[in-house]
C-alpha cells in the first residue's frame, strides 16, 4: 500500500505544479500606461521700490537678459507636453508702469513676449494666465527657452511718491507643467 500512496503524493505535487494555471493576463496593457504628473513651482520674482524708479528718471528702472535653464534642461524639455504660466503684478507706486517679459532661445531670438501695463496704485492685483501646449501657444516656446529678458519701464513722472506704505512694484510668476514620464 505504501508505494501507491508515495507515488500518489509525488504525482499529486507534480500535477499541481504542472497544472497550476492563471487567469488570462494582458501584459500589452503596459503600452497604455500613462504617467503624466503635473508639477508646479515659482518661476521668477521682481521687486522694485518707488524711490529707485524715481531715481532712474525716464530710463527703464530695470532691463536685463538673464540665463534661465530650467525649461531647456533635457529632463524637462524632452518630456513637457503642456503647461500654464501664471503672472501676478502688484503696483503700489504713484505712476503707471510697464513690464515686459521676453523668452529667449540659445541665440537670443525672442520666442514669446508678455507685456503688462499697470495703472498707478492703489491698483487691484493684475493676474494673467498664459497656456502653452494643446490649447495655448506652442509648447516649443517653453522647450527652447534658455533665457529671459525682463524690462521694467516707468510711464509716468519721476518725482511723485505714493502715500501707501513701502510703495513698490512686484511681479510674481509660477508655472504648472504636465510632463510625460511614460
Amino acid at each position: 500500500m505504501k508505494k501507491p500512496f508515495t507515488s500518489g503524493i509525488f504525482w499529486g505535487i507534480l500535477f499541481l505544479l504542472l497544472h497550476s494555471c492563471s487567469e488570462p493576463q494582458d501584459f500589452d496593457q503596459y503600452d497604455d500606461l500613462d504617467i503624466v504628473p503635473a508639477f508646479e513651482a515659482s518661476i521668477f520674482y521682481l521687486e522694485s521700490p518707488e524711490d529707485l524708479i524715481n531715481s532712474l528718471g525716464d530710463a527703464d528702472f530695470f532691463s536685463r537678459d538673464f540665463n534661465f535653464d530650467a525649461f531647456s534642461e533635457n529632463v524637462f524639455a524632452d518630456r513637457v507636453i503642456e503647461g500654464t504660466l501664471t503672472y501676478e503684478v502688484e503696483n503700489t507706486t504713484s505712476k503707471p508702469l510697464e513690464i515686459t517679459i521676453e523668452f529667449l532661445d540659445e541665440a537670443n531670438n525672442v520666442l514669446d513676449t508678455e507685456t503688462f501695463s499697470i495703472d498707478p496704485g492703489p491698483t487691484a492685483l493684475l493676474q494673467r494666465e498664459v497656456a502653452y501646449g494643446n490649447s495655448g501657444r506652442s509648447i516649443e516656446i517653453i522647450r527652447n527657452t534658455s533665457g529671459i529678458r525682463l524690462r521694467g519701464s516707468n510711464l509716468g513722472d519721476s518725482t511723485s511718491t505714493s502715500t501707501l506704505p513701502e510703495p513698490m512694484v512686484k511681479l510674481r510668476s509660477s508655472g504648472e507643467f504636465r510632463v510625460r514620464i511614460k
Binding site: Y30, P37, S42, F62, F68, S173
Partner: protein, 476 residues
C-alpha cells in the same frame, strides 16, 4: 550613478518576485539534512551526508504583500491607469513590500564525530536577498505631481530598500547533550558580492504659498544610499568579465563579515519536542568598493528672485546660476567611500511538536533496546507529528512574524511528507506541502508553498519552492 540605479533596480525587480525567507516546510524536518540550516540544533540521526554540489539545496521565495500581477495585468477590460491609481497608488501603504530571497547550496557536507553525540557540518551557499517597501509618497509625486497637492508634505522616509548578494561559508556542530536536549551552533563567514541599502531616509518635500512669490518649494532632506561592489561589477560588465568578478568577490575578494546561528531541540517528554533557532546573528563590514551617496540639507526656493536695488549691484550676475549654486550649497548631493557596517536580516524560529502513532524502525547504529537509547541517545521517530511554528525576521520597518501549523506523516523510512498552514502579512490561505523521499542512500526533497494560489498564479501574493538532492548514510 545611472548604472548603479539600473543594476539595483534590476536586482530589486527580480527579487520583487521573491519573498521573505520563511522556510516553514523545511524547519524541523529532520529527514532532510538541510533542516540543519534553519536549526543547527535539530534532531538528526545521520551518520554522514553529502549534498550533490549545486543541487543539494535550492530555494526561491516569491511574494508581494500589496498587489499581485493579476491586479494590474488581468485581461478584464479595465483601464490599466485606473487599476494602478486605485490598487497601487491609493490602495497600498508604506508597510506593503516586495521582497524575497534565493539560496543555492554550492557545497554541503556533514558527518558524525568520534564522539557519536557530535555531528559536524560545513558548506558554502550563495544567497541573494532584497526588500523594498512601497514608496507611497514618491509614487504619488511620480504619478500625479505636486500641482494638485499644494500644502501636502511628501515624506522622503517612504524610500526604504535594501538588497545584497553574498556567499556564506559555514561550519557547525550539532550535539546531543542528553536524552532530552540537542544544541547546535554554526559559525558563518560572509563574503559579500554586492550590497545596497537606503533605509534611514528622513525629510519632506512640500509646496506652500510663498512669502514673495506665488509658491515656495521646500525640501528638507536627510537621505543616504549606500552601495558596495556595484562599481566593480559595473566595470566588469563593461569589460566582459562579470562572471569572473562575481566569483572573485564571492570568494573573499569583496567584503567580509561574520555571523552565528544557534539552535536547540528539547524533549519535554518522549513525544513532545520544543525547538528554537536564531539565524544570521551577524554583520558585514563593507570597506571595499564602497560608494555612499547623500543628500542632506534644507532649502526653500521661490524661483529666481530679482530684488532691486540689490540686483543692480552686479550687472553681470547670473540669477539662474546663483539660484542653482544656493540650492547645491544648502542641500549638497555628495558621495564618499567610507566603510559601513550592514547587519544581516536576523531570523528566529520556534516550534512545539507532538509525535504520535507507530514508532519507526531506527536507521542509525545503536543498541536500541529502548527507542531512546541511553548509549547513543538516538531518539524515537513516530509516524505522525503535529505542531506549531513561529517565525520572526528583522526587517527595515520592524520585525515580521508568521505563524504556522504543521502535520508531518512518515511512511516508514522511505518517505515523509509535511503539510503546513501559514498566516502572515502576505496571506491567510497559505497551505504548503513538502516531501522527502529516501531511495536507498539518495535523498530527494521538494517543497512548495501557497498551493491554493496555484489555481491563479498571477493572483498569488506569495509562492515558494525548495528542492534538493543528497546522499545520506546511517552507517548501517
Amino acid at each position: 550613478m545611472k548604472g548603479h540605479f539600473l543594476f539595483f533596480a534590476l536586482f530589486t525587480g527580480l527579487c520583487a518576485m521573491l519573498h521573505a525567507q520563511n522556510k516553514q516546510l523545511l524547519y524541523d524536518f529532520g529527514e532532510i539534512p538541510q533542516s540543519l540550516s534553519v536549526n543547527p540544533g535539530t534532531q538528526i540521526d545521520f551518520q554522514w551526508f553529502s549534498g550533490i554540489p549545486a543541487l543539494s539545496g535550492i530555494s526561491f521565495n516569491a511574494g508581494s504583500s500589496g498587489i499581485t500581477v493579476n491586479d494590474i495585468f488581468a485581461d478584464d477590460g479595465l483601464d490599466i491607469n485606473d487599476k494602478i491609481r486605485d490598487r497601487a497608488i491609493n490602495g497600498m501603504n508604506i508597510r506593503d513590500e516586495l521582497s524575497g530571497t534565493y539560496q543555492v547550496e554550492l557545497l554541503s557536507i556533514g558527518f558524525r564525530g568520534k564522539d557519536r553525540d557530535n555531528f559536524y557540518s560545513f558548506g558554502i551557499y550563495n544567497e541573494g536577498d532584497a526588500i523594498g517597501y512601497w514608496p507611497r509618497d514618491y509614487a504619488i509625486l511620480t504619478f500625479e505631481g505636486n500641482a494638485s497637492r499644494l500644502g501636502q508634505q511628501f515624506d522622503l522616509s517612504h524610500l526604504k530598500i535594501r538588497g545584497e548578494m553574498l556567499n556564506v561559508f559555514h561550519f557547525g556542530i550539532n550535539r546531543r547533550m542528553g536524552k532530552e536536549l540537542t544544541l547546535g551552533a554554526r559559525g558563518k563567514l560572509y563574503s559579500s558580492i554586492f550590497d545596497f541599502n537606503s533605509t534611514q531616509n528622513k525629510g519632506a518635500f512640500v509646496t506652500n504659498p510663498g512669502q514673495n512669490n506665488i509658491l515656495a518649494s521646500t525640501l528638507d532632506a536627510d537621505m543616504r544610499f549606500r552601495t558596495s561592489g556595484l562599481n566593480e561589477l559595473e566595470n566588469a560588465e563593461d569589460e566582459g568579465s562579470l562572471g569572473k568578478t562575481l566569483l572573485q568577490r564571492g570568494f573573499f575578494g569583496g567584503n567580509l563579515g561574520i555571523g552565528l546561528d544557534l539552535g536547540f531541540s528539547y524533549n519535554l517528554d518522549r513525544q513532545t519536542v520544543i525547538t528554537g533557532s536564531l539565524l544570521d546573528l551577524g554583520f558585514i563590514y563593507h570597506s571595499n568598493d564602497v560608494k555612499t551617496y547623500t543628500l542632506k540639507g534644507n532649502a526653500t526656493i521661490e524661483g529666481v528672485e530679482i530684488i532691486l536695488p540689490d540686483a543692480l549691484a552686479d550687472p553681470n550676475s547670473d540669477f539662474w546660476q546663483e539660484l542653482v549654486d544656493e540650492i547645491e550649497e544648502l542641500i549638497p548631493f555628495e558621495d564618499d567611500t567610507r566603510g559601513y557596517v550592514a547587519f544581516r536580516p536576523t531570523k528566529l524560529y520556534a516550534s512545539i511538536r507532538r509525535d504520535f502513532g507507530q514508532q519507526l524502525e531506527t536507521r542509525g547504529i545503536c543498541d536500541c533496546d529502548e527507542v531512546v537509547s541511553a548509549g547513543n541517545r538516538m531518539r524515537a521517530r513516530y509516524t505522525n507529528s503535529l505542531g506549531g511554528q513561529l517565525y520572526i525576521i528583522n526587517r527595515p520597518r520592524g520585525p515580521q512574524t508568521a505563524l504556522t501549523a504543521f502535520y508531518t506523516r512518515r511512511f516508514g523510512n522511505l518517505l515523509a511528507a509535511k503539510a503546513t498552514y501559514t498566516v502572515d502579512k502576505f496571506s491567510f490561505t497559505n497551505v504548503g506541502l513538502g516531501v522527502s523521499l529516501q531511495a536507498g542512500p539518495v535523498n530527494m526533497y521538494a517543497m512548495a508553498d501557497n498551493l491554493l494560489a496555484y489555481s491563479n498564479v498571477a493572483n498569488a501574493h506569495y509562492a515558494s519552492f525548495q528542492l534538493g538532492l543528497n546522499i545520506i548514510s546511517w552507517g548501517r
